[in-house]
C-alpha cells in the first residue's frame, strides 16, 4: 500500500474541495477501496474520509412518498429498515444477497454504486488492463473470462459491474444526487454507469471530484411492492458475487400485467434494463410462456465475450424465473436465503 495523506472531511464542501485535488479518493466504508489499495490497484495521494458526515447518513421519506437514501447509509441499515423493505422489497432483497453480514455493516450505499469490477486482471497490477491502465490491452480476452460480460462489452473491455443493489435501483428509475465544485446535479441511475466503448477507464458519469450525496427512489416505484423479486445465481449459496442476477417487478390488475420492470445484473458493465422486454408484457396475462418470451427479448443482443456463452442461457432462465416469482407475489417475509433461487420461502431448507 502506498503512503497517502489522510483528510477527515467535516462537511460536504470540505469533502468536495479535498476530493477535487489530483490523486484524491473518497473513502466511505473502505470495503472496496482499502482492498484495492492493498493490491496496489488504487494508489491515492490523498484519502478523503467522509464517514463523519452525519448529513449523509439519513434515510429521508419525502412528502411525495419518494425516499432519499444518504450515500453513507450502511447496506444493512437500509435493508433492515422496515418501511423501506416493505416499500421496495426487491432492493432490500438485493442488498441482503450481497457480500456478508460483516461487509454489509460497513459498506455504504454510495460505495456500493461506485465499487470496481471484480475482473481478476483488473485486480492484478502485472496484467494488461485497459480499464486500469488505458491502452495497455485486455488480458481477460484470452484469459479466465467465464464470468465476464455478455452484453454491452467492447473489444477494449469485457468486465461486468458487480453490484446487486444497483440492479433493482435501475429497474425502479432511481436517481443519483451528486455535488461537485460547480454545485449539485442529478443523474438517472441508468446513465450513471457507462459501457466500456473505447474508454473503459471512464466508468461512470461522475466528474472529477464529484461526491455522491444520495440515491433517490421515486414514489411511484412503490406500486410494484406486491410483485417484485431479486434473484441471484451464485457459485455457492452465499457470500459470493452474482454469476447472473435479475430484478423483476410488475403491477397486476384483474389478472393482467399493467406495467413490468426487468433488469439483469452481472451481464454488463452496468445494470442491464430491458425496456423492450418490459413492453412485451404489458396488457398480457402472467404465464410461463410470456415470461420466457420476455426474458428472450432481454437477452436478444447478448453475445459471448469469451468462454461464457453459458451465461446467456443462464441469464435468460433466471430472468424468466424472477418474472414468474414476481408474478406469484412478493414473499411476506424476507426469504431465509435472500435472492437465492434455491430457497424461495422461509422454512424451505436448502441444506437437508
Amino acid at each position: 500500500m502506498n503512503l497517502f495523506d489522510y483528510v477527515r472531511a467535516s462537511s460536504v464542501d470540505e469533502a468536495v474541495a479535498a476530493g477535487a485535488k489530483p490523486g484524491a479518493r473518497i473513502l466511505a466504508g473502505g470495503t472496496n477501496l482499502v482492498d484495492l489499495m492493498k493490491m496496489g490497484v488504487a494508489e491515492p495521494a490523498t484519502l478523503v474520509d467522509i464517514t463523519r458526515l452525519e448529513e449523509l447518513k439519513r434515510i429521508n421519506w419525502l412528502s411525495d412518498g419518494s425516499v432519499r437514501i444518504g450515500s453513507l447509509v450502511r447496506n444493512s441499515d437500509l435493508a433492515y429498515e422496515t418501511h423501506f423493505a416493505k416499500t421496495f422489497p426487491m432492493v432490500a432483497e438485493a442488498l441482503l444477497s450481497g457480500a456478508s453480514a460483516q461487509l454489509r455493516n460497513a459498506a455504504t450505499a454510495g460505495g456500493n454504486l461506485l465499487q470496481k469490477t471484480r475482473c481478476s486482471y483488473y485486480q492484478d497490477v502485472a496484467s494488461a488492463c485497459n480499464r486500469r491502465n488505458a491502452g495497455s490491452g485486455c488480458d481477460a480476452r484470452q484469459g479466465l473470462n467465464r464470468l465476464h460480460a455478455v452484453l454491452g462489452w467492447s473489444d477494449h473491455c469485457i468486465a461486468t459491474h458487480p453490484s446487486d443493489f444497483c440492479v433493482p435501483l435501475a429497474a425502479l428509475d432511481a436517481v443519483v444526487e451528486v455535488t461537485g465544485k460547480g454545485g449539485s446535479r442529478e443523474i438517472p441511475i441508468e446513465s450513471f454507469h457507462l459501457l466500456p466503448g473505447d474508454q473503459p477507464g471512464k466508468e461512470n458519469a461522475l466528474e472529477e471530484g464529484e461526491l455522491v450525496t444520495a440515491i433517490r427512489i421515486p414514489a411511484d416505484a412503490s406500486r410494484f411492492a406486491a410483485h417484485s423479486r431479486y434473484l441471484k445465481l451464485r457459485e455457492r449459496t452465499s457470500y459470493a458475487f452474482a454469476v447472473v442476477s435479475a430484478a423483476a417487478a410488475m403491477m397486476i390488475e384483474d389478472g393482467r400485467i399493467l406495467e413490468a420492470r426487468l433488469t439483469l445484473g452481472a451481464v454488463a458493465a452496468k445494470p442491464w434494463r430491458s425496456r423492450e422486454a418490459e413492453a412485451a408484457m404489458i396488457g398480457q396475462m402472467p404465464s410461463k410462456d410470456l415470461f420466457d418470451h420476455a426474458a428472450g427479448i432481454a437477452l436478444r443482443e447478448a453475445s459471448p465475450s469469451g468462454n461464457n456463452a453459458f451465461k446467456i442461457e443462464l441469464a435468460r432462465r433466471l430472468a424468466a424465473r424472477a418474472l414468474s416469482a414476481a408474478s406469484a407475489g412478493t414473499p411476506t417475509a424476507m426469504p431465509a436465503l435472500p435472492g437465492s433461487p434455491l430457497s424461495t420461502f422461509s422454512g424451505d431448507a436448502h441444506v437437508a
Binding site: M1, N2, L3, F4, D5, Y6, V7, R8, A9, S10, E14, L27, G30, T31, V34, D35, K38, G40, L47, D49, T51, S76, Y80, A99, S100, A101, Q102, L103, N105, A106, D124, V125, A126, S127, T237, S238, Y239, A336, L337, P338, S343, S346, G347, D348, A349, H350, V351
Partner: protein, 194 residues
C-alpha cells in the same frame, strides 16, 4: 501466474517510517486516536495512516485473539465489534474508527466465566483447529444483537456465511449459534420478568 509488483507490506515494519502526511482539514494532525477497547479507554499514537484495525489490535496492542486469515474481507477471521456491530477489521483503517468502542474476543468473558456464546461453542463442538473461532464467535455475538435470525437454522447459516471455517465445523457452529440465541432469549425473558 503473473508476478505481483512488490509493494510495501502492510505490516508493522512500516511503523518506524515516520509519516509527515497525516492531515485533518489541511492541518497536521496529532497522530493519535482514542479507542475504547474491551472497556478500556486507550490513546494510541499512529505514525502511519495505513495501519488497519486488525494490525493495530494484533501487532501494537498484543490482542492476538483476533485472527488474520485472508486480510481481504473474504474469510471473517478478523471479525470484531465496532460500536456493537460486527465488521471485518482487516478492511478498516484504524484512523477511521477514532472514538469508537471496539470489542474483541478478549473482551467477552467475565473473569473466568465464559460469555454464553463462547460456552455454546464449547458445548456444541463448534470448532476443530480453532483458527476461525474468535471470528465465528464475534460474528455470532453480532448476529444475536442484530436479531434477524430468530431460531431458524437456515437464517443462521446465511447470516454466518461471512465466516469461513477451513475445518468445516459448520454443523457444530450452527448448533452453537442456535443454542446461544435460545439462551439469550431466556435471559432476556428472565430480565424482563425481574
Amino acid at each position: 501466474m503473473a508476478i505481483q509488483k512488490f509493494k510495501l507490506p502492510d505490516i508493522p515494519s512500516i511503523a518506524v517510517q515516520i509519516s509527515t502526511s497525516l492531515f485533518l482539514n489541511g492541518v497536521r494532525m496529532s497522530l493519535s486516536i482514542s479507542l475504547t477497547i474491551n472497556g478500556d479507554a486507550r490513546t494510541i499514537v499512529l505514525e502511519d495512516p495505513r495501519v488497519t484495525l486488525l494490525d493495530l489490535l494484533r501487532e501494537r496492542l498484543q490482542l492476538t485473539g483476533t485472527k488474520k486469515g485472508c486480510d481481504r474481507g473474504q474469510c471473517g477471521a478478523c471479525t470484531v465489534l465496532v460500536d456493537g456491530r460486527r465488521i471485518n477489521s482487516c478492511l478498516t483503517l484504524a484512523m477511521t474508527v477514532d472514538g469508537a468502542h471496539v470489542t474483541t474476543i478478549e473482551g467477552l468473558a467475565t473473569g473466568d466465566e465464559l460469555h454464553p456464546v463462547q460456552a455454546a461453542f464449547l458445548e456444541c463442538d463448534g470448532l476443530q483447529c480453532g483458527y476461525c473461532t474468535p471470528g465465528q464467535i464475534m460474528s455470532a455475538v453480532g448476529l444475536i444483537a442484530e436479531g434477524q435470525a430468530a431460531g431458524d437454522p437456515e437464517r443462521v447459516r446465511e447470516l454466518m456465511s461471512g465466516n469461513i471455517c477451513r475445518c468445516g465445523a459448520y454443523k457444530g457452529i450452527t448448533e452453537a449459534v442456535l443454542v446461544a440465541i435460545e439462551k439469550d432469549a431466556t435471559t432476556s425473558k428472565e430480565r424482563d420478568a425481574a
